[in-house]
Symmetry: C2
Subunit: 258 residues, 2 copies
């Protein structure tokens, strides 16, 4: 059973406004909640803490090992209850309400590559970019205030749990990131940039990723120290690449230079 | 006005079954129809032909140049009519019914890179992969019989018009492709494959892309002449990359070697 109050609270978290107000967000489905529980068990260093866990009897039985440290948060419910409060059309056995700790806003970062997302709109792209960051060991992902929410339901699904492992800081300006890491060069992909495959490029830096349709904003453009590009192949006819694919190619190439 | 018969026919094309039966498919929205009209005007060498075009007065006025050669196919309708027959929740002024000519099944391909999609399930990934193929000038994309339809509405939207420019052949086996191009090596990404960034690799070939969850099928695996991998970065924690992102990184790296 989920009470009417709980239901109101959980469904409010479908919206960014309430996620920001309460600093809580939802994680849905066996796969994503599994990633979450793994990332916040052990040392609670991940910056997240459990608020409530709603799962079916079947889910609890099949995941008793994972559930054990979180039993105090657990409420047994039916799939029908999950359907009423979740965003998935077919509920997958479990839903968690998670709090973002204040700590996540001040990660201490090792040297390496950082991403700055400049007005990225599509939550699927954002989740996919976090998955890229997670794969290649990008040390931090910073989001402009108008970038879609990394903790929205679609971004979390697309990210396959990457948001629990990657250092994410939302609502920050490129200037702040540059002030925090003044030694780092700032790279961005622009049409007439240098060929990323053949150019001499730095071994660490801030890579700026622009909006899907408009690219990097004009006022950020002037902050770039290196303008790079993914040149089209001979006979290529596309106008552009998908933003997450372009990010994948750039991060893969930059982290595997030489 | 769209008649009841036309409406039944157009909505039937939401389903792969009827797209295959009639060899017709839908293209929706200003952007995608614009790409379509550009690709099939001029020489009708693209393998597609117009069946019917339904657009609002506003769309027709704003696109009179593009519309001109297709005026015989044009029916003026209201946005509300489009909503009843299309798949977009917000209709974007125009919808086209297009026929696939038989010609598209036998393209003559230049030497270069081919993709074989082995059980790819997500239409968004398929469209994004066609966009990658289009950008890097991949000479042909072949799809296994159980790969999602390249001419389904979601794949077309994600592909941003790439399906009108890339040579696509659906419903074929890897064996057929290998028989047709016996001189080409066959590459596939597998966990324990050779580092794609640092290995000596061929300059053309067939790149096999596996299913999102399961990867390349066991019986295809034995046909690979080169097993490659995108190694995770130091500190990377993701289980895998998105299928389209991995394809983008592999195609970009293979087409930009040396």
């Amino acid at each position: 059973m989920i009470s009417a109050n709980q239901r109101t609270f959980i469904t409010s978290l479908h919206l960014k406004k309430y996620r920001q107000k309460y600093r809580n967000f939802l994680v849905e489905g066996e796969k994503m909640v599994g990633e979450l529980l793994k990332s916040i068990s052990g040392e609670s260093s991940s910056g997240f803490s459990m608020v409530a866990l709603y799962g079916t009897k079947r889910w609890a039985n099949e995941n008793s090992g994972l559930l054990d440290p979180f039993y105090a948060f657990f409420n047994e419910v039916e799939d029908d209850d999950l359907k009423k409060v979740g965003t998935l059309t077919t509920p997958h056995g479990v839903l968690a309400v998670v709090a973002l700790s204040e700590k996540t806003t001040q990660p201490t970062l090792k040297p390496g590559w950082l991403l700055y997302l400049d007005g990225l709109q599509d939550p699927g792209n954002l989740g996919t970019i976090l998955r890229i960051a997670d794969w290649f060991g990008v040390v931090g992902v910073f989001c402009s205030p108008d970038t879609t929410d990394a903790f929205g339901p679609k971004a979390i699904q697309a990210g396959m749990g990457a948001c629990f492992r990657v250092n994410i800081q939302e609502d920050c300006s490129l200037e702040e990131v540059m002030n925090k890491y003044p030694q780092l060069p700032v790279l961005g992909a622009v049409m007439e940039g240098a060929n990323v495959f053949s150019s001499e490029l730095p071994s660490s830096g801030i890579l700026v990723i622009g909006n899907e349709g408009k690219g990097i904003r004009a006022n950020q453009m002037q902050r770039l120290t290196h303008r790079i590009a993914i040149p089209p192949g001979p006979g290529g006819g596309a106008e552009s690449l998908n933003a997450a694919v372009a990010t994948g190619i750039l991060v893969a190439t930059l982290t595997n230079k030489k």
